[in-house]
Symmetry: C2
Subunit: 353 residues, 2 copies
DNA sequence: TTGTAAGCGTTATCAC
DNA sequence: GTGATAACGCTTACAA
């Protein structure tokens, strides 16, 4: 910058203003500066700028890990939304370890990020380290694995809605005995999916039948085992809603082993839209978790807080509407003319309980 | 820092030295400073430090996107290795767009990163924007999608070796007519996998039979179609080496449709270790691309260059040894006692051609 | 519209 | 072993 100033015989102030498009700068001057900057291949130093302004163009992400289908997609969404807004992203993994999570927060604080996005590690039960962030006035948004409560900013998938629409769909296909392969009920996601399932049944006037609900850890072979048990019932179900795709896959494979046709004899639906659900035969109906939208929604919320710039901001919890993907494993009706397109943008459903 | 200095009645210099563990500092003083820093919850400002030192603790990553199985795993490996070495990582996506890739490089330059890791966008055919990086003396390492040549630092998977070990394995299983579902030969990865396949055949004294090599874009249905064609041959193959897992899956499904047993009637092997290969029945033998090791190897190389600190560094190309994962789709022999464990560390095989 | 000068938080240099 | 001071590159009152 000093070079440019010297060469043009103006002050660095003018250079700075021209480069950052300040209002009180002559268009002529601006052009000259920009041209010379290009010629000299001038690279602004964001460190210096951030240091002076006390605000960087960096957002921090803390995730348990960058593997599998979910987190990479969310990070993808975050990076995309952030860079669109002129921010870049520092990414940290906690490896499901609170201590590491704490360290990551410290690092992000000292990197002077403008805001932080966090999905909690599985071992985080004490949330005091987030107080440090809050006390520094640093915008903070949780996603997916969140701190519960209405005094935090958070974005999650509406799992109950997911269980509900999935079960409704099976009902619409004419199924009347719908079993549920449920996950560990101490985890909110599985509890909510089950609740949505029950909601749909009740709404349809069907009885809640505990013999049709089987609990497991949702692994592939547990899905197979579940299906085996269900098919051995005096009156076997005509549909299975599994709270996870691996479990649904096991169920599908077991059904085939027993010579049943899917979806004619038994319809199957899973949850999560794992990559493999489209390559099975038939492909598996499932619920998309809108990973990317979750990332984008989290960034939107974070930017709102950043832009509030210290002014009081009422914490908000956003629940994303899950998307039902109807595929061969549950599609038993003749094709119907398509309805209006679903609005693909992330939805605010309401404040969480 | 100023506060600490005042409270202890010493200069900021002393504080700085105590905090950064400078040699000329009294252990007593050091303890006092550290204690007080803890009490006041002192957070170093890495921006200021980096500005002053002219070097940040940040590495930049540019990838086409963070989706699928490959890139997230590599990023995982990069972040893990980087944070172990005290670095953090800024991640940028090029979305397979050169222009964006160029912009990303500019951003990373202006963020004063200590080094850059790049996997090229598919639309990058002109490499001039990397000159800017080089001319600034900034350490640069390519991975997976690299600039060819021996004047760049690069880490790749040895695809030819992958094709070779895969085919060798099928030979060891007693197969003698081994077909190959090949990918587009203008892409190096597919060309190399095919070459490895041919190498193994030649080594075994088997003829190269072009009627057993089918070319496609490697999609699932193309794998099925390929298998159909192969099975219609006057003398059908007893094994298929597919250059991709989706293609292998299609082949597997088609074999089942035609009532063949896998691996008894026809053995199948894929490439990439996609997640779904373990959930099929039988699970699919494949080649692991060592994504995580690739990330780690790239960081190791980058750190070496960083530590050379401007001193001449001879560019190096590293080829990682792929790992054969033998699974049900090709395992036709009785189990053999396990040999010595394979060294799991990333391997330097040699300079690329 | 432009310039002057101070300062963001740290560290390297040089002197003591 | 410790301190004073300048400097890293940029922005922004305040003044002109």
């Amino acid at each position: 910058m000093a070079d440019l100033a010297r060469e043009l015989g103006v002050s660095m102030t003018t250079i700075s203003r021209a480069l950052s498009d300040h209002h009180s700068i002559g268009p002529a001057m601006k052009q000259k500066v920009l041209k010379l900057a290009k010629k000299y291949n001038y690279q602004p130093n964001r460190l210096a700028s951030a240091l002076r302004k006390g605000k960087s163009q960096l957002l921090g992400i803390v995730v348990p890990y960058i593997e599998g289908r979910f987190f990479p997609s969310v990070v993808h969404g975050i990076e995309t939304a952030a860079s669109r807004a002129g921010y870049n992203v520092i990414i940290c993994q906690s490896n499901e370890d609170v201590a590491q999570e704490r360290r990551n927060l410290d690092i992000l604080l000292s990197a002077q990020v403008a805001g932080i996005l966090v999905s909690l590690s599985r071992t985080t039960h004490d949330f005091r380290h987030f107080e440090k962030v809050r006390s520094r006035g640093l915008p903070l948004v949780f996603f997916d694995r969140i701190v519960e409560g209405d005094n935090v900013n958070a974005v999650v998938l509406d799992d109950q809605e997911g269980g509900y629409v999935s079960t409704r769909h099976l009902l619409n296909q004419g199924c009347r005995r719908i079993a549920h392969l449920a996950g560990p009920q101490h985890l909110n996601i599985y509890k909510n999916r089950r609740q949505g399932y029950l909601d749909a049944l009740r709404e349809a006037g069907l009885p809640e039948d505990e013999s049709l609900i089987l609990y497991s850890d949702m692994a592939q072979d547990q899905g197979a085992e579940g299906m085996r048990q269900l098919l051995a019932l005096p009156s076997a179900p005509d549909a299975v809603f599994a709270a996870g795709d691996y479990c649904a896959l096991g169920a599908l494979q077991e059904a085939h082993r027993q010579g049943l046709r899917v979806p004619e004899d038994v319809a199957i639906a899973g949850f999560s839209n794992e990559t493999f659900t489209v390559i099975t035969q038939p492909p598996i109906t499932t619920i998309d978790q809108r990973c990317e939208e979750m990332g984008q929604a989290a960034v939107r919320l974070l930017l709102e807080i950043i832009e509030a710039d210290g002014r009081p901001f009422t914490p908000r919890q956003v629940a994303l509407r899950p998307e039902l993907l109807v595929r061969g494993s549950s599609d038993r009706l003749p094709a119907v003319p398509a309805g209006p397109l679903r609005d693909p943008s992330a939805k605010f459903i309401g404040t969480l309980a």
